[in-house]
Amino acid sequence: MADEVFLYALSTCPWCRKAKQFFTDNQIPFDFVDVDQLQGAAQDAAAEKARELSGGRRYPVVVINGEVVAGYNPDRYLELLRSRW
């Protein structure tokens, strides 16, 4: 089964860029949203969702197969990726 990876990111955050680069380098498909690049209600909704998932306002918030990882943590990402088992 393919991995499902989604990142909540900020365009200003270098750790968010590192997280995107990690998945790109490992050829793992992922979707993401740069929350600060959204406008109005869409931004509020994405920010609230990221906050609900992580329990804080720190980015990146990475969701891998339903598990939430707050922050850039490549070792934890690998643990959660089915394709890497």
Binding site: L10, T12, C13, P14, W15, C16, V35, D36, A47, A50, R51, R57, R58, Y59, A70, G71, Y72, N73, D75, R76
Partner: protein, 110 residues
């Protein structure tokens, strides 16, 4: 970057150093990262009236948002002391020489 932005970036660096030094922190020795983060803060200040942390979101509630204005170390001291760095990595403990060896999360949250 426009010259005025460079000036502001350098001004933030000067001001922040005086704030974080008594807290036991210093700028990351990764100059490229420090410049990038300060440049993001200059942009955030231009757009949102304060140099917010580039790696933390704002809620729109002033009391909460003030806790993510750089340097935000006093508001997150316990967490940052465990990581030996602030969340975005602009500042590290004074004893840190290799910031790349530091995780972006506290050991007890790994």
């Amino acid at each position: 970057m426009a010259m005025t932005d460079v000036t502001r970036r350098d001004a933030l660096r000067y001001l922040f150093e005086k704030v974080v030094d008594p807290l036991g922190y210093k700028f990351t020795p990764d100059e490229e990262l420090a410049d990038f983060l300060l440049e993001q803060e200059v942009k955030l200040e231009q757009d949102h009236e304060a140099p917010y942390c580039p790696c933390q979101g704002r809620s729109g509630v002033r009391a909460e948002d003030m806790q993510v204005v750089c340097p935000c170390i006093p508001f997150h001291r316990e967490h940052f002391d465990k990581m030996k760095r602030c969340w975005c990595g602009l500042f590290v403990h004074k004893d840190v020489t290799d910031p790349d060896s530091l995780p972006q999360f506290p050991p007890d949250e790994a």
